[in-house]
């Protein structure tokens, strides 16, 4: 694609009562600028879902540019529900690829804790169909539950059959100093966790939290001169599906996820066998299973078996959620997709510490909006 990553930044993911949305964004941007050894960029893309609803603050492009000492720079907010982060990177890539922008910074930021309780639950449902889903009282967790119940029904499964996803996520999160949850999860405790939306329980669902992550991209030629370890963007693709689950011809098939993976693989000229790790959108365990199926790592109805059989661990066939995933690293909605990119890039640089997937050369990140109504897939590769 002739676009490379030259800078990475991220904050811890947790409840940060003393930190505002502008500070969160700045901390990630500052880290990314330091990492790239530069002080400014030509364009700024801010991925965010909920600042208007939870912090009464829109216009994040100007706000973040101003606060980050980049007054005057082109800047805009990118919104695609919990796919906002991945989509912000997509815009940065398009900008650089167009030739109109030399160096672009994409930051995903979400400030979840300016409100609490039912207000946050309502806001998280803003990515659903307001008139025909949310107005019936459906929540994001409820959406995950409708998918999970049907998946269990069609494939004859119990809640405990999904345990492997969260056990893996927590095992990896335990090795990530920035993760929200660093405790290991006992498989036998999984199915008895308190219910959020039956059958989705607290151990199925990723926790909402504050966080920000940033990535700086520029052309491949320029990147080679700027940093010792540029990471190449080998594939970048977006697809959409019906916004409401009830309008899907096949509720248990993530068509947008499948389409975006196929496009990204074709751009990168690789097959799924060559993908060394996959940061997928495990906001619910069932979405992890469905994402593995849509990407082609498992047959239909067999995604959960990869978790059961230990294929998703660091040394498994397809390592996922290598820094804890949404489940254990935490899910700052509009920032989540940017964490995925930072994590894949760290793996490819060999800077993943205890989370390192040995010899990782090609990594894939997929960021979903709600139930896969938006799917953003990126394939990153060690620069040759």
């Amino acid at each position: 694609m002739n676009v490379s990553i030259i800078g990475l930044g991220q904050t811890e993911v947790k409840e940060m009562w003393d930190t505002s949305i502008r500070h969160l964004a700045w901390y990630a941007i500052e880290a990314a600028l330091d990492d790239a050894h530069i002080s400014k960029v030509d364009a700024l893309y801010v991925g965010n879902m909920l600042s208007g609803e939870l912090s009464q603050q829109n216009h994040l492009g100007a706000l973040v540019a101003d606060f980050a000492g980049m007054r005057g720079v082109e800047a805009v907010t990118v919104e695609a529900a919990d796919a906002s982060g991945g989509m912000a990177l997509r815009q940065a890539i398009l900008a650089v690829k167009s030739g109109l922008v030399e160096t672009a910074l994409a930051v995903g930021v979400e400030k979840m804790t300016d409100q609490t309780g039912s207000a946050v639950t309502a806001a998280m449902a803003y990515g659903l169909d307001a008139d025909y889903e949310a107005m019936q009282g459906l929540t994001l967790a409820g959406m995950g539950a409708l998918l999970m119940r049907r998946y269990m029904f069609e494939h004859g499964l119990d809640v405990a059959d999904f345990a492997g996803f969260s056990v893996n996520a927590h095992a990896n999160g335990a090795a990530n100093p920035l993760a929200m949850f660093r405790n290991r999860l006992k498989p036998e405790r999984f199915a008895s966790a308190p219910l959020v939306a039956d059958p989705v329980n607290l151990f199925d669902m990723a926790p909402a939290a504050d966080g920000a992550a940033a990535v700086i991209v520029t052309s491949r030629e320029k990147a080679m001169d700027m940093v010792p370890q540029p990471v190449e963007i080998a594939g970048s693709a977006v697809a959409t599906d019906t916004i409401a689950l009830h309008d899907r011809r096949d509720v248990l098939w993530l068509q947008a996820a499948a389409t975006s993976v196929q496009k990204a693989l074709a751009q990168a000229g690789v097959t799924t066998e060559e993908i060394d790790l996959f940061e997928l959108h495990d906001s619910f365990t069932v979405l992890a299973a469905l994402s593995l199926e849509a990407a082609g790592f498992a047959g239909r109805g067999e995604g959960w078996m990869l978790a059961r059989d230990g294929e998703i661990g660091r040394n498994g066939r397809i390592p996922i959620s290598t820094f804890g995933g949404l489940k254990a690293r935490g899910n700052p909605m509009g920032a989540t997709g940017m964490y995925q990119i930072v994590e894949v890039a760290r793996q490819l640089r060999g800077q993943a510490g205890e989370c390192q997937v040995e010899g990782a050369k090609v990594g894939m990140a997929q960021n979903l909006g709600t139930n896969g109504a938006t799917a953003v897939t990126h394939i990153l590769r060690v620069a040759e």
Binding site: E133, G137, L146, H246, V251
Partner: protein, 136 residues
């Protein structure tokens, strides 16, 4: 709450008025003007019978603002006898009774309120079927 936003959906909320595609004949709910199947214009109104069966369901414990007083409550995907799925609350039943494939029918109920002085939004919910499925 936004009065006009709910007022303009009264035919859908109270009567399950959707559409039939002029081109391929598929029935659509919610109405969407461009057919989901063949992408031709679909603007002929069709009132659904309100009969169907449960396709998937959940009980929501962590309720969003405006629904707290109902929690826990059940939301389902209902497969209408004409074909489409619709997202709706289940009512007049205990969560332990629900199962996939269970026949249900539409009723009109209070969806949410907005405080003592605010608007009350009514709309469709589904309950265990009293009527038999009709042949469509």
């Amino acid at each position: 709450m936004e009065v006009s936003r709910h007022w303009r959906l009264q035919a859908q909320r109270y009567q399950l008025v959707g559409e039939t595609c002029d081109s391929c004949g598929v029935k659509l709910f919610p109405p969407r003007d461009v057919c989901l199947e063949c992408e031709a214009p679909a603007q002929e109104l069709y009132t659904f019978t309100g009969l169907g069966e449960i396709y998937s369901y959940t009980t929501i414990y962590d309720a969003p603002a405006g629904f707290e007083h109902n929690a826990p409550y059940m939301v389902a995907l209902i497969k209408l006898e004409e074909g489409p799925l619709v997202t709706a609350q289940l009512t007049d039943m205990d969560p332990s009774e629900a199962q996939i494939g269970m026949p249900v029918e539409m009723v009109t109920r209070k969806l949410r309120t907005d405080g003592e002085e605010g608007m009350i939004v009514y709309g469709y919910k589904f309950r265990p079927a009293v009527k038999e499925l009709t042949a469509v």
